[in-house]
Amino acid sequence: MKKDLGFRIGTGVFGLLLILVVVGIGFELTRQSLLSIQKFGLNFWRTEIWDPVAGEFGAFPFIWGTLYSSILALLIAAPIAIGIAVFIAELCPARLKQPLVFLTELLAAIPSVVYGLWGIFVLVPTVRSLETSLPDSIRAWALFKGPPVGLGMLAAGLILAIMVIPFTASIAREVLKSVPIAQREAAYALGATRFEAISAALFYARTGIVGAVMLGFGRALGETMAVTMVIGNTPQARVSLFAPQYTMAAVIANEFSEAADELYLHALIEIGLVLFIITLIVNSLSRLLIWTMGHGARKAAAPAAEPQAAAA
């Protein structure tokens, strides 16, 4: 057994390295943003003015833009992703299954910068012509205010949705797979229609489905290149879908190499730190939900006997 100890330590060290990297990211980002944390405190996240030349740093527009674009993407992506998961897992003929899985995986494999390139030259002009074709009466609403430039929140939300769909769909499909077949067979035996049987399965899997959607949300929060290329990069918090705005990831990507003085750099790294913490929480929570779901299904527990799942 003594000989095995060396093996155990030898491989364990490499595993430990992974933990070290995660801890290291948190530590390093905190260390590098101390100046900004100490100088601005919580006001950093409440102030709307971002003027590096004057030394004024308020990160509210970025957190607003990140949340806005990710929620917008989620609203578009979640129903479609769940629809895809249901279609592939429950409805489609066996022959179509593999090709469809492959195609959705392809969508996930396209690099972010290629999405961005396509966004600049194809999606943004399309969005612009959509904006100009809206009648003035609608353009007066707060949601559609502003000049139709194309670059802006709507384009960012759309491109994020496209990127998040395959991701959420594949996890939702896995979740659906873990619902016992007997449950659907019982529903069909009682004369349920497809919709009724599948919605029972979806209800059974609700914790995992919510987890899958949240995992997609986590992806959207941190997505950088494609959003940077279409959102317009203007530090302002606006309700309008047409207004050019900014996200946390985008401001880091754009301004990091220009940050001349130390305070500017620390302010940008603080944005990175908070982005890291937010994605950490969202991802851990969603994995917990998916895990709870998988665990419950394996134990074949009755869905009614999961009060904590109902709360989620």
């Binding site: 000989k3 095995d4 060396g6 093996f7 155990r8 491989t11 490499f14 595993g15 430990l16 390295l17 992974l18 990297v21 995660v22 990211i25 390093e28 980002l29 260390r31 590098q32 129903p79 479609i80 769940i82 629809g83 895809i84 249901v86 279609f87 409805l91 489609c92 469809l100 195609l103 494999a109 396209i110 690099p111 972010s112 910068v113 290629v114 961005g116 390139l117 396509w118 600049i120 030259f121 194809v122 496209i162 229609t193 919709f195 992806r219 941190g222 997505e223 950088t224 290149m225 880091i252 990091f256 190499s257 940008l268 790294i269 990175g272 982005l275 890291f276 994605t279 950490l280 991802n283």
Partner: protein, 283 residues
């Protein structure tokens, strides 16, 4: 009764229709993006794209030879970091699956997988660029490596757990140490799958831009020096796409075509290999 039945049927078919429509809706962007990358990319792709250096603004022609080599170097460096660390930590988490450290490593891998790539860029800037006051290919490789480790680790773990326990037990019964059993019997059995996983991970990191923006930066010249800034396809596409020059846009599309081709060929090959493997295992 029959009205109610009709309503249930209509609702059900509407639902089925919605699900089928969402598949189509997701495939539209895929087709459109691939179409644009193919058509615009093919228009601008030629031999000089692979052999020549970028030209200054206003001069037509030129290529991305330095960026292609740069991407190969940085992604290669990333794999050099990530593959050994990923495989060995995967060995640990599968061999000592029940231990608390294994759960912690698994959690760390999942966490790292979800960390935004731009944050990894900032982190590597802090540990590998700032101390040396020098952007470098090594820093870029480190950033890509950190993104690759969790993928390799989780793939290795999953594949090792698929290897029949009897093989491991057989080796141990013959008097092999645990290390011997893993490295001579279990790991080789799972190796083809692990290689496939590594290729997929390599394809994924080759398409990353954000972690390279302030680690390996960019370089207008041909460079293979590991301690100097180096160009990469993705950063080059990004910087060309955001300028106002028609000729650079064309170059960006050509670059996108090359990038997408690399990624797609890797995924298709990996997929084909996995299917053959599954066939072998079952047969």
């Amino acid at each position: 009764m029959s009205v109610r039945r009709l309503r249930r049927k209509v609702v059900s078919s509407l639902f089925v229709g919605f699900c089928a429509a969402s598949v189509l809706l997701a495939l539209i962007p895929l087709v459109v993006i691939l179409f644009f990358v193919m058509s615009r990319g093919l228009q601008s792709l030629n031999v000089s794209f692979f052999t020549e250096m970028p030209k200054p603004v206003g001069e037509p022609g030129g290529g991305m030879a330095n960026a292609i080599v740069g991407t190969l170097i940085v992604a290669g460096l990333g794999s050099l970091f990530a593959v050994p660390i990923g495989i060995l930590s995967g060995v640990y988490t599968s061999e000592y699956a029940g231990t608390r450290l294994a759960s912690a490593i698994r959690f760390a891998a999942d966490t790292l997988n979800g960390v935004p790539s731009i944050v990894i860029g900032v982190f590597v800037y802090g540990i590998a660029v700032l101390p040396f006051k020098q952007f470098s290919a090594i820093a870029g490789g480190l950033a890509l490596g950190i993104m690759m480790i969790p993928i390799v680790a989780r793939t290795t773990e999953e594949l090792l757990l698929l290897v029949p326990t009897s093989m491991r037990e057989g080796a141990l019964a013959l008097g092999a140490t645990r290390a011997r059993a893993v490295f001579s019997v279990v790991l080789p059995a799972a190796l083809p799958g692990i290689i496939t996983g590594c290729v997929l991970a390599l394809a994924r990191i080759s398409g990353e831009t954000a972690p390279l923006l302030f680690t390996s930066l960019n370089n207008r010249f041909f460079s293979t020096a590991l301690t100097q800034p180096i160009s990469s396809l993705t950063v080059q596409i990004y910087s060309y796409a955001t300028t106002a020059y028609e000729d650079w846009h064309r170059q960006a599309w050509a670059g996108a075509l090359v990038l997408v081709a690399i990624v797609l060929v890797c995924s298709i090959l990996a997929r084909y290999a996995t299917r053959r493997l599954e066939g072998l295992v079952r047969g």
